[in-house]
Subunit: 507 residues, 2 copies
Amino acid sequence: MSETKTSDKTIFNISKEKNLSDWYSEILKTADLVDLRYNVKGFLVHRPYVMKIIKKIYEIWEGALEEKGHEPVLFPVVIPPENFEMEKEHVEGFTPEVFWVTEAGGDKLTVKLALRPTSETAFYQMYNLWIRSYTDLPLKSYQSCAVYRHETKATKPLVRGREFLWIEAHDAFATEKEARAQVAQDMEITKKVLYDALGIPFIFFKRPSWDKFKGAEETYAADSLMPDGKLLQLPSTHYFAQRFSKPFDIKFEDSDGNKKYVHTTSYGPPIWRTVAALVMVHGDDRGLVLPFAVAPVQVVIVPILYKGKEKAVAEKCKKIVDVLGREGIRVKLDDSDKNPGEKYYYWEMKGVPIRLEIGPRDVSEGVVVAVRRDTGSKEKVKDEKLAERLTEIADDTLKNLRERAEKRMMGSIKKAATLKEIETIVETGIAKVNFCSTDATGEACAEKIKEIGGEVRGTWFGKDDDVNPLGSSPTTNVSRNNDGVNPKGCVVCGKKAKCVVYVGRAY
Amino acid sequence: MSETKTSDKTIFNISKEKNLSDWYSEILKTADLVDLRYNVKGFLVHRPYVMKIIKKIYEIWEGALEEKGHEPVLFPVVIPPENFEMEKEHVEGFTPEVFWVTEAGGDKLTVKLALRPTSETAFYQMYNLWIRSYTDLPLKSYQSCAVYRHETKATKPLVRGREFLWIEAHDAFATEKEARAQVAQDMEITKKVLYDALGIPFIFFKRPSWDKFKGAEETYAADSLMPDGKLLQLPSTHYFAQRFSKPFDIKFEDSDGNKKYVHTTSYGPPIWRTVAALVMVHGDDRGLVLPFAVAPVQVVIVPILYKGKEKAVAEKCKKIVDVLGREGIRVKLDDSDKNPGEKYYYWEMKGVPIRLEIGPRDVSEGVVVAVRRDTGSKEKVKDEKLAERLTEIADDTLKNLRERAEKRMMGSIKKAATLKEIETIVETGIAKVNFCSTDATGEACAEKIKEIGGEVRGTWFGKDDDVNPLGSSPTTNVSRNNDGVNPKGCVVCGKKAKCVVYVGRAY
């Protein structure tokens, strides 16, 4: 039965492993995710298939945020300069990228307005009005929206654009301790969504002082390894201390009767980049491989028709569509005129997690053939066990995707004692090095590393070699675990190393 | 048991019937729907309670659109002038309201960009690329987004603003017939959402030529009567013929081998105004009255505590939260320290459709007391019947809200034979008049009606007095049903009346 054989052809002539960049461009087009032909540079059109994935990702992330007490809000897209300029580092950092609305109708606006590049300074304007007492705290809000940045770096669809989709959560607390606890909770939320639901591994690095979000006291960012050995920054969470609450005068009356400034944090789950990571991390030479949770089509049914036996097969297919639909599974019956092989290629390329093949023999045996997208493995499943077994296959698939990606990412981390070694390691992964300091004094050494193509991504939050636990300053010597990567000290300057940092190439 | 008595106080000192405008401002603030203090004129902040309602409304409308074959997409917020200027009437109509992005970073953009006031000219740019063959048709896409219009009229929260939330569906067809059928289907979708799910009655009027969407061949718009006797325009659907497909060169090769221009339509469900209509139409002097489908809290439980018997009541409340939660009902247990009366006022004001009161006697009797928000009526419901009965009450409530609103709207329509009569009728409702013409020749008469505060909203689509059925020109004489409203002819000029139109004051 040649029609039921799983395809051993790849639909592309491009190998994902050998040429990720071309493969990525090709799959975005072939799977019809985005269209880059819109006639404004850096802006793209989201096609239905990616919108369906995006809506699911939003749902999962919004759910995880709401479970932790965040409430949905929506602020204006425009931010007046008087807000935007409140925090010096913030405005200096973002100004080079801001789009300005300056005219309406035929007239110049009296004050030009920023298209939000991020909304701290919109939210805080209102937090000043909303927060009066300690009973108003914590205040935890998020919005799902697009933001606008006039990127000068090359744009890459779903990775870097002048308009991109994200969530931004802005939280205010009575104490530093609670704000820092929020940063840790943001990491938990990240794990729940990216790792648990979508199988994407990541490491939270505390970014060096020169690579913080502009205006932040501390920035923690999740990096994930893409198959070309480059790191993609996923959500980041920022502790602002009172850097914004002071200029915005966000004070509350505490239970002790004193007026105090709040401590704020922000957290930015990047919806776009989550899609990009799903595509790059899980995909293969046949196309997309989507986790069950976000697949627009979770199960595709391909009837195997033989002359004279079409009716029984068609009936069974319809029945299974009903059964699975009732279980809340997004199922698609492909009863088009294409031959089964073509259908296999197409739905494999689209990343559908499970394919069901149903032929005359399956009707008489009371089974269906289920084929896993990630491994291509096949099994016969009894009709009455179908929904249950599909859920198990979906779970197994997710586990497999997650383990594969995690093994690759963690296995790519290698110790380096010289710049030369860093250069080699970052070709395919992450270099672990002793480093003088992640405060301003270390920036010159980081520049040297940049010259050979690596970026200092920071200290690994929570790891045994992390001498920068949440809230501490990077002053401790590397003593617990320098495991000889460079006994002489900083990999660049050779001076006493205060920390272990991780270095990679980055998107 | 005074605590269990339904409040007979109103929380406002403002009567909705006597002063809708003040009542509306007050409820938006008291129910914490929006905050108008953001420091850019015409832009507002959406608070969590309204965002939860809005998310549900989006879900319902998107579902109804997808059921009819529309697919989700998302286009850029910016539209280049070369697109925007393609259709003459369109650009002339919208230009006075367009916000322009002219700078990025420190630099002037070489081409300024329009913030989308509506996206026909963004979509059609891509439809030109996407449509090649009759097999690509129909092409039906929608996006959920905010649009931007520099309104010079006074803004009103959720009714008219410089940034507002809506959906826009843009469809392309091979033939005029299919495009016109889409216009009719848009009306069906409108009914399914507004009338069936949310209990908001409306009438689709074919707008006179001078009140069409700019660029449309024909515009049909749903008006709903607000309690102050003014009409609120809800969705509108437009037939464009080939007015856009020609300048955008959107052609397809038909099955006969010939290249033809597509016929397009667009449809705009206004999410903001749907909320405004829910608030104004269903609300009462106690506050919001929300239909079950969109209520952020569908059922609130208020425990009635007596000393020594708290535990049994608390346990029952928790159990019911679990039971209803499992049924997918959004249930909230108010176990705050407020007294029951305060809780009643608060949740009534928030529009929660059903309140459950649970005291010690209800525990021993195995019942709960259910109170309907719309009528205030109470009943005892047996524990084991609870979920089922709540669904019935929800359905009954919706039916009651719908009937009440419909009776009011339809009852407000009165025949007028003179301008003086129109003036009186439009104080509280809709005047029905004979009118010379809804093409350009009638505009002068419409101006006369405007002088006395009325607007000609058009002919009633599909009604027996409608001599403008979908697709016909308004040339027929009023013969079928002029029922003597003005046997002499047009209510203004007295010339031969070609149609019956409806006149009202409008938002």
